[in-house]
């Protein structure tokens, strides 16, 4: 599978949604909805940084953001910090967050393939039972 720019990321969106849902389960009453998104990115960063380095993760995050921006101009307010974290996340809609995560996962599929991408995701959420049908594409 080779994801090209502009190609629908439906299954990646499904997986991204699954990751957000996983984080939502840990949410307590005082959490801001943006926190669950931040935690998703943080888990991804921890898993990826071990493999690709912080600068590798940051580069991929910047690319994912640029790809997501093409479809959602509201993402222009968002920026990637030097440590790979996102600045301006709290002002985003859930769809916008979803789009960035999906693009990020799609980039991983493009570079290392789907099985390895899923392995990274499982490393980031070791206790979770991921639904494979959402993480794979026909």
């Amino acid at each position: 599978m080779s994801l090209k720019r502009g190609e629908p990321l439906l299954s990646m969106q499904a997986l991204a949604q699954q990751l957000l849902t996983l984080e939502r389960r840990h949410q307590n009453a005082f959490d801001d909805p943006a926190d669950e998104a931040a935690r998703v990115f943080e888990r991804l960063r921890d898993a990826l940084a071990r493999f690709a380095g912080l600068s590798g993760f940051t580069s991929l995050m910047r690319r994912a953001l640029a790809l997501a921006r093409a479809d959602d101009p509201s993402l222009r307010q968002l920026s990637v910090r030097a440590d790979g974290s996102l600045e301006g996340l709290e002002q985003l809609s859930s769809d916008a967050v979803l789009a960035i995560i999906a693009q990020f996962l799609g980039l991983l599929v493009t570079f290392v393939g789907e099985p390895l991408m899923l392995r990274f995701v499982r490393e980031a959420w070791p206790d979770a039972s991921l639904d494979d049908q959402h993480g794979t594409r026909d």
Binding site: M1, S2, R5, S59, R62, L107, T110, F111, P115
Partner: protein, 523 residues
């Protein structure tokens, strides 16, 4: 099934291969350039690096995924554009949006590597570039190192490669390097692909060669591949050209008539289809004539032919064939015959193979004549002559894999003590060998022919006299009653001598009356 499909089935990430736009190079690279790879094009000055880079750029850049060409100090962009637009691949319309030239000279001169990286990153992010070229990368590093400030070189390379790859960019750093500099250089360690272009001079001839020193994840064709720069840009000639093809022709499935009366009978019906036959003999023995008749006979039977000549100009070759009644003009006009005249002195074997195979494919040729191998050797650049045997092997192997039947001629220096097959020890290359030679009989210099070897089956073992007439080669009777014929100075065998002399006199008289041209008629 493509490797991409196989990888997909095995769950491995498929890597798309980008076409290079350089004839022959995709074959060397096992399909093209890996998308998003970080490559280096290195070599000595004048090696064709910039031309190659431009060719790749014009083949792939689109307005949606444009190419950025960063120039640094080396060749000014305006000068580069002036000369590069002379090549046929240069598409002026792509300069509107698909290709952008950006000069980094001022950043390099006034700032440091960190600033250079920032500019490249910014331009890539703003343009959604699909390809990035930095020319000359070496110049940029020299300049950056000299000021001793800013980012360290390994860090710079690492970050540049990482960023460009993450941004789904296929990138090329172009630089002048010598081979010894490849060791322990961080640039080459980080690179996914490393193309080395080289040109060398030997005895007034220039030979250009290319090597894929490194290409991650791909089974590239190893070794040095010759290339040429023409009005169309770089054209490479892979060492495996033609050797990976498979022929649908079953060798020896049928016999091809030679058009020479009596010769087919000696060959048990003709030349086995798909074979390579060598006609070896001294100057004037009729090798070229025999080969021409073979080609002409095929043309008469609707079998297109390619004749490769190295010494004689095509018009002279055609004119000489015409004197024998062989019409090479009409089939040339009809597109069933191509006579290739190989320009001498700076030729590579792979280039010759490429040209001949292209002609064979264009015409759907069934017969190929190489006249002569001595001329072929002379036409090669000096650098290739010492490996002539290996080169010849590759050429004949590549040709016969196309399914054509090849007849080559080779001149043998006659010494009248033995019967050598050639001066090159090349007989192992061919399926069939026919030796032509002069023999001294009864005070006359006569011509004798023998089929020395035929891999495809039985053949005549007789030594036949033959004559050269205004209708071409005519096979005569077997020369019996002599011993030492292969030495060229035979003696009669006493118990048959009388009968043989009588028989021979009769035969000669008959040949003279209805076949022989006037004395002194040459090939």
């Amino acid at each position: 099934m493509s490797s991409e499909s196989k990888n997909h089935e095995r769950g491995r990430v498929p890597i798309r291969r980008l076409p290079t736009g350089v004839p022959g190079l995709d074959e060397i690279l096992a399909g093209g350039l890996p998308e998003y790879s970080f490559n280096i094009v290195a070599g000595n000055p004048g090696g064709g690096k910039t031309t190659l880079a431009h060719q790749i750029m014009f083949a792939n850049a689109t307005p949606e995924r444009p190419a950025l060409y960063f120039t640094v100090l080396g060749e000014p962009a305006i000068k580069m554009l002036r000369y590069q637009q002379q090549f046929s691949f240069f598409d002026m319309t792509k300069l509107d949006g698909a290709i952008r030239f950006i000069n980094l000279s001022h950043v390099v001169m006034e700032k440091d590597l960190g600033a250079v990286l920032d500019v490249i990153v910014k331009e890539v992010e703003n343009s959604n570039a699909g390809m990035v070229f930095v020319d000359s990368f070496r110049t940029m590093l020299r300049s950056a190192q000299s000021d001793g400030s800013g980012m360290e070189l390994p860090d710079f390379i690492q970050r540049l490669a990482l960023h460009l790859t993450s941004w789904q960019v296929t990138s090329f750093l172009i630089g002048e390097y010598s081979e010894v500099e490849f060791r322990d250089n961080p640039v080459f360690t980080v690179a996914d692909g490393l193309l080395w272009l080289n040109q060398s001079a030997e005895r007034n001839s220039i030979v250009r060669k290319m090597q894929v020193i490194k290409m991650r994840g791909q089974n590239t064709v190893p070794g040095m591949h010759t290339f040429r720069i023409t009005d169309d840009g770089v054209q490479t000639f892979p060492r495996t050209l033609g050797l990976t093809a498979s022929s649908s022709v079953i060798k020896g499935g049928r016999r091809l008539a030679t058009g020479v009366p009596g010769f087919d009978a000696l060959l048990n019906g003709g030349v086995p289809e798909g074979d390579s036959m060598l006609l070896a003999g001294p100057s004037g023995s009729g090798k070229s004539m025999l080969a021409s008749q073979f080609a002409a006979e095929g043309l008469c039977h609707g079998e297109p032919a390619v004749i490769v000549i190295f010494e004689e100009l095509p018009k002279d070759y055609v004119r000489r064939a015409g004197k024998l009644g062989l019409d090479f003009v009409t089939p040339q006009e009809a597109g069933t015959l191509k006579i290739i005249y190989i320009r001498p002195l700076d030729l590579s074997v792979d280039e010759t193979v490429h040209e001949v195979i292209a002609a064979v494919n264009d015409l759907g040729a069934k017969r190929v004549v190489l006249d002569s191998l001595v001329g072929f050797e002379m036409a090669l650049a000096p650098e290739f002559r010492h490996e002539f045997r290996e080169s010849l092997y590759r050429m004949i192997a590549a040709l016969t894999r196309t399914g054509v039947t090849v007849v080559s001629t080779v001149e043998v220096q006659e010494n009248f003590t033995s019967m050598g097959l050639s001066n090159y020890a090349i007989s192992f290359l061919t399926d069939d060998i026919v030796r032509l030679r002069y023999v001294s009989i009864d005070g006359q210099m006569r011509k004798m022919l023998i089929v020395v070897k035929m891999r495809g089956g039985p053949h005549s073992i007789d030594m036949h006299e033959y004559t050269i007439t205004d209708r071409g080669v005519v096979i005569g009777k077997p020369l019996r009653g002599y011993r030492g014929l292969t030495s060229g100075i035979p003696e009669t065998w006493s118990w048959e001598a009388r009968d043989q002399r009588a028989e021979h006199s009769t035969a000669r008289a008959r040949d003279q009356s209805d076949e022989e041209p006037p004395q002194g008629k040459a090939e």
